[in-house]
Structures are given as structure tokens and as C-alpha cells.
Symmetry: C2
Subunit: 93 residues, 2 copies
């Protein structure tokens, strides 16, 4: 499995659609971890996705690593703006 | 310094008021770390506080640990509801 396939980008969809994406991923053979990537206000959703998946659906799922940082983005007028991001790595025990 | 004093609870105030609280804390003698605690939508603000403090004001500040979890809260009708929380520990290098 290539590196890109185990990333779930969290955006503005309902939380449960990302939970479903995570569960579906872990149902593919050989899947051992998944990375949730979120920026800005979606960071809260990423934490909800991790917690709901772990508590309601997959009790063997663990938070392996959490990284936060800042991504430089260009505003409409071309000036740079820092946007916080978070990456949560989930793995099967 | 007691354990409680190095916790900054993140809520709905502007980001910079929490950044100021963190900087003020690290200016007290003996302060080596601070824990940002946030629930629900304030989780995004907590990440912003950590990133802005580190990048703009204190370049020796590091993210030491990040914990996520779920807190059981009671709704108005008494039924339980899970709310995601996050704790970011910042420390001086």
C-alpha cells in the first residue's frame, strides 16, 4: 500500500462520513494505520473523527502520534498567511 | 509551582489573549511548561495559540506532548454526550 492511500483529508463534510472512510480503510487487507489531516477549523472535526471511530466502532484503534504545525498559504492579494494544521496517526493494536 | 497553575484553559476569547497568558506564564521564575486545555470547537484555538506563541514570540518553545480524548458531559435533559478534548503541553527547550 502506497503512502498516499492511508491519508484521510478532513474538511467540511459531516463527521460520520470521515468515520466511515477510516473504518472502510481498516477493512482493506494489510491496512495498519491511517493519518487524519486537517487545517484550520477542521482540526476539531479530526479529533471528533478519531474519538468517535475509536470509542464507538473500533476499540482496538489507538492514537499513535499527533503533530501540529503551521502551513503558509497565500491570501487572495498574494500576502502570506499562516494556517494551523494537525495530523493524527491512528493504528491498530 | 503547583500543578494547577500551569494550565491555560482555552475558550472563546480572542487567540491573542491566550497567547499573552502563555507568554506571561513563562516569564514567571521557574516556569518550564504549560498545558493548554480545550474542548469542542476551542480545540482549533488551542492549536493556533501553540503555533502563534512558538512562531512569533518564543522560538525556544516546543510541543512536548499532545493528548486527545472524550469527556462525558450531561445535556440539559440529563442524557450523556461525549465532547472531544485536547491537551497540548508546551515546554521550553
Amino acid at each position: 500500500m502506497s503512502e498516499e492511500q492511508n491519508i484521510v483529508y478532513i474538511g467540511k463534510k459531516p463527521v460520520m462520513s470521515y468515520v466511515l472512510a477510516v473504518i472502510t480503510h481498516f477493512n482493506t487487507p494489510g491496512a495498519k494505520n491511517v493519518i487524519l489531516k486537517a487545517r484550520g477549523m477542521s482540526i476539531t472535526t479530526a479529533v471528533d473523527v478519531a474519538e468517535i471511530t475509536r470509542r464507538r466502532f473500533m476499540d482496538k484503534l489507538q492514537v499513535d502520534n499527533i503533530v501540529i504545525g503551521t502551513e503558509e498559504m497565500k491570501q487572495e492579494d498574494g500576502s502570506p498567511r499562516g494556517v494551523s494544521f494537525m495530523e493524527i496517526t491512528l493504528k491498530l493494536q
